[in-house]
Amino acid sequence: MTTSELRLAAHDLACLRGGRLVFEGLSFAVARGEALVLTGANGSGKSSLLRQIAGLLEIAHGTIALEGGDSERTIGEQVHYVGHLDALKPSMNVAETLRFWTEYLGGGRNEAAVAHALDAFALASLADLPVGYLSAGQRRRLSLARVLAVPRPLWLLDEPTVALDAANTARLLDLMNVHLVSGGLIVAATHLDLGLVPARMLRLGEEVAA
């Protein structure tokens, strides 16, 4: 994979949800080592935009391209998407869950990566606990952990700090900054000031609301 000049470019995007125009005429670009922070009121299309990038939502108009990425694979296969739903099964335990997603998302049977990701999100001591017993913040951390377990260049995070306490928010921000420094890209929707180093803001909703 040639990631030297990786760049996410969106041109003249529009999004339709249930016949309602959520946004239109949206263009932006994110280069390596850059974060794009999406802000805007409820319903302004932050989540929809993230899902469009991940290939989970139809693009009503315009284009999204991951320039310099692997042209043989869809954008969805080159990004991590952490949305509102945490994709966790109550009857599987923490380590099993992460092991499964690591293997499924192309990381192979990599115990070291799984252990590292659990450790980074302070979940190592909970490894054998069934997911059903986790608190909301712990569930959030577990679903975030897969972005570390399998290396993918672009992270799409939909309000990643929801349910996280101060210490874990700081932990997540550190990991995001490390990802950026090592040449990754992040598009995150949030209401908080994340304090990412090279962050550009994109405020959604104003032109449509007007």
Binding site: L56, V79, Y81, Y104, L105
Partner: protein, 225 residues
């Protein structure tokens, strides 16, 4: 890709085996339905052995339908399906893995307990091998065709009924040829009607291996977007 396929299949088997996974539900339902038939019909042995193949197949079909609606729905509701569509595995193969998992946790156990239930219904022991063969050949089609209905109704709350209505017409050939094979076996394989039924059953199943995953993946794509 093979690794992702195996990982998904193993996960589904594991989930089915655990509490709340519903792995034993179909078998239990099958048992209950067949066990109450003699109570309802009465202890007429000749009558029971006459209706046994049909009863077994109808109960098997209903048991398979019972567990079908959760095939994709659980993954759809908790967001897993989004992630499953973002791996290297095409949705068609995701559907194959899930349908295969459904067969291994539902269809296969039903086939295994069928002889015991056959005894309850006074089915001649000589016809057991043919019945089992027909069920082995026919039950995969229930899972693979059922996957289409499950995928179509993935976003519908209590979609099980709708899925059943959609899928049932496709199950009819399996039922007809399955009962045909079993009845021919009970009659001691006079002529080659039994073999023909078995061959048709095999053909339906092979067809479902292609149609099921392609149809299910198309339905999932439409529902995901």
């Amino acid at each position: 890709m093979r690794r992702a396929f195996l990982a998904l299949l193993l996960r589904d088997l594991r989930l089915a085996a655990r509490l709340g996974g519903g792995g034993g539900m179909a078998v239990f339902f099958f048992l209950v339905v067949v066990a109450i038939v003699p109570l309802g019909i009465g202890p007429d042995k000749a009558l029971l052995s006459l209706i046994a193949p049909g009863m077994l197949w109808v109960a098997l079909l209903l048991a398979a339908l019972l567990t079908l609606d959760r095939l994709f729905q659980a993954d759809f509701e908790d967001g897993s399906l989004d992630l499953l569509s973002m791996g290297a595995l095409p949705l068609e193969l995701v559907a194959v893995a899930k349908a295969l998992g459904h067969w291994l946790t539902t269809g296969l156990p039903l086939v295994v307990v069928a002889p015991v239930l056959g005894l309850l219904l006074n089915l001649p022991v000589a016809s057991f091998p043919a019945l089992l063969l027909a069920m082995l050949a026919g039950t995969p089609a229930l899972s693979f065709l059922g996957a289409i209905g499950a995928a179509l109704t993935v976003g519908v709350r209590r979609g099980g009924l709708l899925a059943s209505l959609l899928v049932l017409p496709f199950y009819i050939p399996v039922l007809i040829f399955g009962v045909g094979a079993a009845e021919a076996a009970s009659a001691g394989f006079e002529g080659d009607a039994g073999v023909q039924s078995l061959l048709f059953l095999g053909a339906v199943t092979l067809g479902s291996f292609v149609l099921g995953p392609v149809g299910a993946a198309a339905a999932l794509r439409a529902n995901l977007r």
